[in-house]
């Protein structure tokens, strides 16, 4: 090592440190991705030794049948939900960044759902929405029987119920990210604001919001792509039935119920492209409006 100059040593160190993560990344992200693209050109049931190469026929089929894309309507519910989710997360993060009593307790309560297993949450909420379940009992307790609905049977409510569950599940994550960003703002700025006589609202608008713009953007990207690819809650709770089928559920069913792994891989590739596309659009939008940060 001694006779190597500084930059050579640096290079070796970088390679050593990056080797493991890059190998992991390649094995578990890029190799599967490459294979998925390969599968998407096959007519294959996922098991048979006889795979037939059919080129882009799977994609042609996908784009010639509007039924495959009609499920994106369900994503609109989740998109609307993600706006509410981010607003709530930001609201709580801002409040809890100021000095209030029981701060840590509330932080814990808000973040807790994110630590739970998604499948467990889906089951909890199945009982919650069930006829005479938790929600109905709760409404009855307050004398609000009139508001009781068939939360899962009624098509007007079922997706709202799903989105509600989803918000409950994922809000904590956005919240903790926002909170971290807000707390990293230099406290001297707040002190200066206090001296200038700024109220809480001013601090939020003129200090917090501009300081966490990057994080806001990140959360928005995660939420939007999450909304497009919503899966586990509607899958575990409803199996995609009664109008809750999302694009990912449809992909899973195409692969494992209809035995068309090739077509399903093509759908997965299309989803990936859509998510990439949306992310890039958001990036460009933020760049135009946000000047030169990052």
């Amino acid at each position: 090592m001694k006779n190597l100059n500084y930059s050579a040593q640096r290079r070796i160190l970088i390679i050593c440190f990056l080797f493991v993560p890059i190998v992991l990344l390649c094995t578990f992200s890029f190799l599967p991705l490459g294979n998925m693209i390969y599968y998407s050109t096959l007519k294959w049931n996922g098991l048979s030794k006889h795979k037939v190469f059919i080129g882009f026929a799977n994609y042609a089929r996908l784009f010639s049948d509007s039924e495959y894309f009609s499920v994106f309507k369900v994503s609109l519910y989740y998109l609307a939900g993600s706006v509410i989710q981010l607003a709530l997360a930001l609201f709580f993060a801002t409040i809890l960044s100021f000095k209030i009593r029981g701060k840590n307790l509330f932080k814990g309560i808000l973040f807790f759902p994110y630590l739970l297993n998604g499948v467990a949450i889906a089951f909890i909420f199945l009982f919650y929405f069930k006829g005479n379940g938790t929600l109905d009992s709760f409404l009855k307790f307050f004398g609000l029987e009139g508001l009781i609905q068939y939360w899962l049977k009624d098509v007007r409510w079922v997706n709202i119920s799903m989105v509600f569950t989803s918000i409950w599940r994922y809000m904590g994550f956005n919240f903790i990210v926002f909170l971290g960003a807000i707390q990293s703002i230099d406290s001297q700025i707040f002190e200066a604001a206090d001296i200038d006589g700024a109220n809480k609202w001013h601090k939020f608008i003129y200090i917090i919001l501009p300081s966490i713009k990057n994080i806001l953007e990140l959360n928005l990207i995660l939420s939007v792509s999450g909304a497009i690819s919503a899966f586990e809650i509607p899958y575990v709770m409803m199996g995609g039935s009664n109008g809750t089928r999302t694009f990912v559920i449809q992909t899973v069913q195409t692969a494992f119920v209809n035995g068309k792994l090739g077509l399903a891989s093509a759908m997965a590739v299309v989803l990936l492209v859509i998510v990439l596309f949306v992310t890039i659009i958001q990036k460009i939008y933020f760049k135009h409006n946000g000047g030169n940060e990052l």
Binding site: N35, F129, G131, S225, S241, V252, N258, G259, A268
Partner: protein, 437 residues
């Protein structure tokens, strides 16, 4: 709502990749046949109790063979992923969904020739390919309707319904005179609206050739009066006449067993395999298991007979990569011939000449005719499933029946006829795409 969710699906798809790269060919060697076998099964409920007793019995005969079990809850889903490797046990249940017989020789060893096996066992034609048999049935199921005898008595129904209309009338009477749910769809579980319904369809045709000779060669299996139509119509009518549970989306499969035992549910459409589970639920609750009755599907054929189709449950096959093929074979033979598993399951044993279980003797008393489906002609093996997959109808899956329930509740903007037309159109189109005459 996070980006990670997308990966769930993708990772499942790609688990295949990882396993694939390791499946280099492994030469078998009979001389090194080991004395330890692993049996992979979907019966998570039996591996720790009944099967352990079977092992004890088995070891009395073959003391030097060690038998291990591995039970998988999502059997169809997981076993097919594992079958992309060589590590899928020694003895396993052959998966049924989207796994054509023509692929069997790549995964299982032949257990004997057709002529040789036919003499001894029922249901062997299901796993025949090029004259070889690749799996032996664990148990055969008859198809009919589960009901609670007490509820029927309370409602004053003495004659078993033998047409869909009589069945609907019976349900209406039950609704009027008792507190029981006339028919429990088990909608939320999903699979309960899949194979359980599909397997009943031949009962209505009453023809061993219907499944493999008629359906693949007709354009409109959902046309009025045909078996699929009649069954779908019955489901639609039950839902739209409000003869089902209040909220199908929150049904509970585990709970339904106790509910039918207690008389809170009057009827359910399930194969004969389910009888034992309902009876056990009754016993646990301290109710006489005799309240659980089983009746034939309410449909009388044009010839005046009622039919009950019998078909095989999972078959046992032996992994072609197994290092203990001889020991595995001994287990398969013992399990089929000597374990008494079929009787335990109230099903029809694969071994010819065995006794029918008591629940099905009642069928015979009613004059119901049992029959097995005739296998496809050699050049059309797997054709029916191929059309089904191409059409994305999913005869064995729950999707279109769930759709019927949803539409009948009023959650979809389509009529019963719309759904039937759509299914027929898909079927016709798929047959055209595949060039089937």
């Amino acid at each position: 709502m996070k980006i990670k969710r997308k990966f769930l699906a993708i990772i499942t798809l790609l688990a295949l990749v990882q396993t694939f790269s390791f499946s280099a060919a492994n030469k078998e060697d009979a001389a090194t046949d080991t004395k330890e076998i692993t049996v992979i099964t979907h019966r998570t409920d039996l591996v720790d109790n009944l099967f352990q007793e079977y092992v004890k019995e088995f070891n009395k005969k073959y003391p030097d063979i060690k038998v291990n079990f591995e039970a998988i809850t999502d059997y169809e889903g997981e076993i097919k992923i594992r079958m992309n490797t060589e590590q899928y046990g020694d003895v396993l249940s052959i998966p049924k969904e989207n796994f054509p017989v023509s692929d069997y020789p790549d995964f299982f060893i032949p257990l004997g020739s057709k002529t040789e096996m036919e003499a001894k066992y029922e249901f062997i034609s299901d796993t025949e390919y090029n004259g070889n048999i690749y799996g032996i049935s664990t148990v055969g199921n008859a198809q009919g309707v589960l009901y609670n005898k007490e509820v029927f008595k309370k409602a004053g129904i003495t004659k078993m319904p033998s047409t869909p209309d009589e069945f609907l009338n019976a349900l209406a009477t039950i609704k009027e005179k008792t507190d029981a749910i006339p028919f429990y769809t088990n909608y939320a579980a999903g699979w309960t609206l899949g194979g359980q319904w599909e397997a009943q369809a031949p009962n209505l045709a009453g023809d061993p050739k219907w499944s493999n000779y008629t359906v693949p060669h007709e354009d409109t299996p959902w046309a009025e009066g045909k078996p699929y139509y009649v069954m779908a119509k019955l489901l639609w009518d039950m839902v739209s006449m409000d003869l089902i549970e209040d909220d199908p989306t929150t049904t509970d499969w585990e709970a339904c067993k106790g509910m039918i035992a207690k008389g809170e549910i009057a009827t359910m459409l399930l194969g004969s395999w389910s009888i034992i589970q309902m009876q056990q639920a009754a016993e646990t609750l301290g109710i006489d298991p005799g309240v659980i009755g089983y009746m034939p599907f309410p449909y009388t054929n044009k010839d005046g007979n009622m039919y009950a189709n019998v078909g095989s449950d999972y078959q046992l096959g032996i992994n072609i990569h197994s290092k203990a093929k001889n020991s595995a074979r001994l287990w398969v033979d013992w399990f089929t011939n000597e374990s008494g598993f079929a009787q335990h399951e109230s099903g029809i044993p694969a071994l010819k000449g065995s006794k029918y279980p008591s629940a099905l003797i009642a069928f015979q008393d009613l004059g119901v005719k049992f029959f097995q489906n005739e296998p496809s002609p050699a050049d059309e093996v797997g054709l029916l499933d191929e059309i089904d997959a191409e059409a994305e109808v999913g005869r064995w899956s729950e999707n279109y029946r769930m759709r019927i329930v949803e539409a009948a509740i009023g959650n979809r903007n389509e009529t019963f006829q719309d759904i039937m037309t759509d299914l027929n159109t898909k079927w016709t189109k798929a047959r055209k795409t595949l060039g089937v005459k």
